[in-house]
Subunit: 510 residues, 2 copies
């Protein structure tokens, strides 16, 4: 019998490695699974083959109690049984993130989760030094979610070979690839030789290491399982091959509490996949991910139908060069799910319009969307002599937005409840109050946050009622300063500096 | 027989003053009219009573030839006849502005008119010193159109009494009017005593002086005939009183070649007027203005139906806090008329969202709309200790946009033809070419203007065809600099500074 932990924290991943058959093709010809029982739950999960005769089963316990397990399957004639104890979580372990209050997120222990994501598509497939840099950068940032792909990425600024490939085999020759001709390699370039029935465990072990490093930093791993930026043919596998892949990915990753599933990046740029295919992958996740991790699918142009019940939150790409944050109010109404705008254009200066807005504009979009009760994702695409762009490779940040997003995160963290909702008032400000079931009903709220965006009022006038006292603060969202103005009641006027990106916070004195 | 000019310039205003009855109410009980005949035209126009027994008839001749006139009416038993000669225009006299090429404007002599408007609602009803300052400011600006009202304005920052009133009588007491209570005076405040059948000629003479001063500067007078910002009851007159007013206004002003008619500012904020009323006023203008001056009507929220045949151009207020310039492409398609966005938010820092955008954002909106084949109006609303804001009172300008609008005007003036049209290409730039009937048909154009707005590309790539040579200039629309990059052909790449508000101009070498 192999070794395993006798005690773990609630929401950590328990794991057992068992030796088994290594003849034939263990990825398809043998299987392993585990059943876990405790007073409050009983789950059966698939394990997976990790190469060299090793089979692994992973499990995330949700209760603080003793668990009995049984590991069995065709991988071996042996059945492994035993137990382990689950103790209270420590440190930053608040459990997995769930949807809270319809439009927001919270960890399973009830701690609110204000999502401030970023995107580094293939940071984990770069060299170790760059991976280390990325982790170091994240450690000092506000980002608590990062989007990245399992498959390597082929695209402008993404011509290099990845650290590893997901399958046994050899890639096409990329020696003639240039910035000018890369689009000719799109899809299945000539010369790829892969065995889509034999995974490369090393590739997945590396990703797991990265998921665990993120977990240590309390950063959600928003894993993009499929995407169209491909020269290796991974986007063009058969339905059967895709299913094998999905099962393998879920068996390996789903027990990590910080995993979110993004079925695809820009699903609509993969014409070879039908809605039926995506719904089939969704069915597999719902069946095989026993933890109900957050699930979405990201568009380029048309949205996927976010009303589908398996979709836990919207994962939106901007719908308009000028406006997107502003549409959060409407999308909340339509979908009644958390609105996450994972792509709203990136801070940078590359040639493409999706990757060259200013830090100021990106931060404005974050504030605008946040006060409308949504969440935004960051990305950075500054030109670099070595073509290392945060948006894809990670590394270090050069932009002006990250510090301001840290400041926004602070403000969001000071919101009562799980998040904000927009209050429909004047047309020339966005006003947010804490999310509540009673909506517009309650007359005077206890907390208001106003944002003026690119407007530059020199003052604003307020009236809640005749008697309530409010503490007023003027917030400079760009200079990251909070000025306490005092206590006001009745009709009052608040002076502002007549510059852009100002906010006002009003807290009722209770 | 009274005196009159024996010779005037084409498109100038010829005028004759005749003495007549001053008993009863000459504004309604007597009438005067003139008939003007030359080889190429014959027009009959109404004159008007100017007080003190004086009746005036005005006429604008459109041909360089001898005109015979007959002046008669119930104002006198006498009939006045005579002739005058019309000689060629001199200096800046290019004639009245007309619609040219469906979407653009040109003077009657064929000179293109690239409209760069501004708004000073009641500049002409301020004291003489302020009037003089306004004229001096306009003289050094790019503005070639100014919007202003005949009636005085009552609104935030507009609490003072005008230089004069349009009617005989006395205004309500405004001594208790404050910034806080002014909305209580909206509409017909108590205590106004006006005779809506007796005009105050002095009021109109002052406006005419201003129209003529503008004409000297080649600035179009976009006259707002009605508006809702009122404490004197001028917005609440009866249909009969309104008709008298319209006839008087047209008789007095229509012969000035720089007059445009704006039936109303924010017509939709005047619930007491029906669509039937507006159509009736339009009918009066079409019948009584013999020169076919440009006609439109300005909205607050819903557009007036711009497809109505009497409307020569759209006079639009922004429809969206974020986007409006961007909608020009669509509005051109819909209305097939020149698109003038007379209000797109003003540069300033007052409390209202319509009056506190930055100069940078205003200039961006001008460029964006211009390259989409439309025109924008400027306005300025900076807080001022004496509450003198350019937007309403004129005076001096404080903002950053006017110099940049002068630069934009220069670029527009260098466009071949009458104006620009948008070319639908990539989504992350706006590309304009000279307006042409063939639209998309012609393969390679001779002139392209690209604008990147708030996007900050470090370079852009171009390809027209293999053989055409293009001279490329990089335009910094904010720093007002044009950098010549050289001659290029085939596939080429143009480096940009990776900052906002850049444009590229490509002129085919012929």
């Amino acid at each position: 019998m192999t070794d395993y932990a006798r005690e773990i924290e609630r929401w950590d991943t328990w794991e057992i490695t068992c030796m088994g058959h290594s003849d034939k093709n263990p990825f398809v010809d043998y299987q392993i699974g585990g059943t876990f029982k405790s007073e409050h739950e009983c789950k059966t999960v698939d394990g997976f083959y990790d190469g060299d005769g090793k089979y692994i089963v992973r499990f995330m316990p949700s209760f603080e109690e003793r668990y009995e397990f049984t590991i069995k399957g065709s991988f071996s004639e042996e059945v492994y049984e035993g137990s382990f104890d689950v103790k209270a979580p420590t440190g930053n372990n608040h459990g997995p993130v769930r949807v809270a209050n319809t439009y927001h997120f919270a960890y399973e222990d009830g701690t609110p989760h204000y999502s401030i994501g970023t995107t580094c598509y293939v940071w984990e497939l770069q060299g170790e030094e760059l991976q280390r840099q990325t982790i170091e950068t994240l450690k000092h940032s506000a980002f608590n979610k990062i989007r990245f792909c399992i498959f390597p990425k082929h695209y402008d600024y993404n011509l290099n070979e990845p650290l590893s490939y997901p399958y046994e085999g050899t890639p096409c020759d990329s020696s003639k690839l240039t910035k000018e001709n890369f689009h000719l390699f799109n899809g299945k370039a000539e010369g790829n030789r892969w065995d889509f029935k034999r995974f490369n465990p090393e590739h997945f072990r590396n990703i797991e290491k990265c998921i665990k490093e993120l977990r240590e930093l309390s950063i959600e791993a928003d894993i993009i399982v499929m995407h169209p930026y491909d020269r290796w043919g991974f986007s063009l596998m058969s339905r059967e091959e895709d299913e094998l892949y999905w099962n393998y990915v879920i068996a390996r990753f789903s027990s990590y509490r910080n995993v979110w599933w993004s079925l695809a990046n820009e699903y609509d740029l993969m014409p070879q996949k039908t809605i039926g295919d995506w719904e089939n992958y969704a069915r597999i996740i719902c069946e095989k991910d026993k933890y109900g991790r957050l699930r979405s699918i990201h568009n380029c142009r048309p949205f996927y139908d976010y009303t589908r019940p398996w979709i836990t939150h919207c994962s939106i790409q901007r719908q308009d060069v000028y406006k997107t944050a502003e549409l959060v109010t409407e999308w909340r109404e339509r979908y009644k799910k958390p609105i996450v705008i994972d792509e709203i254009a990136y801070e940078g200066n590359i040639q493409h319009g999706w990757g060259n807005i200013s830090g100021k504009e990106l931060v404005r979009r974050f504030w605008e969307a946040s006060l409308r009760g949504g969440y935004v994702g960051h990305g950075e695409t500054y030109m670099s002599p070595d073509d290392i762009l945060w948006w894809s490779h990670g590394g270090v940040l050069h932009g002006e937005s990250p510090d301001r997003l840290k400041f926004l995160y602070r403000i969001l963290s000071e919101t009562p409840g799980y998040g904000l909702m927009p209050l429909q008032q004047g047309w020339d400000e966005v006003c947010a109050v804490p999310e509540s079931a009673d909506g517009m009903a309650q007359e005077v709220k206890s907390y208001y946050l106003y944002y003026y965006g690119f407007n530059r009022p020199s003052f604003r006038e307020f009236y809640y009622d005749d008697s309530s006292e409010f503490e007023i603060e003027v917030i400079d969202t760009w200079d990251m300063k909070i000025e306490r103005k005092g206590i006001f009641k009745g009709r009052f006027r608040i002076e502002l500096p007549g510059k852009e990106y100002m906010a006002i916070r009003a807290k009722k004195c209770l």
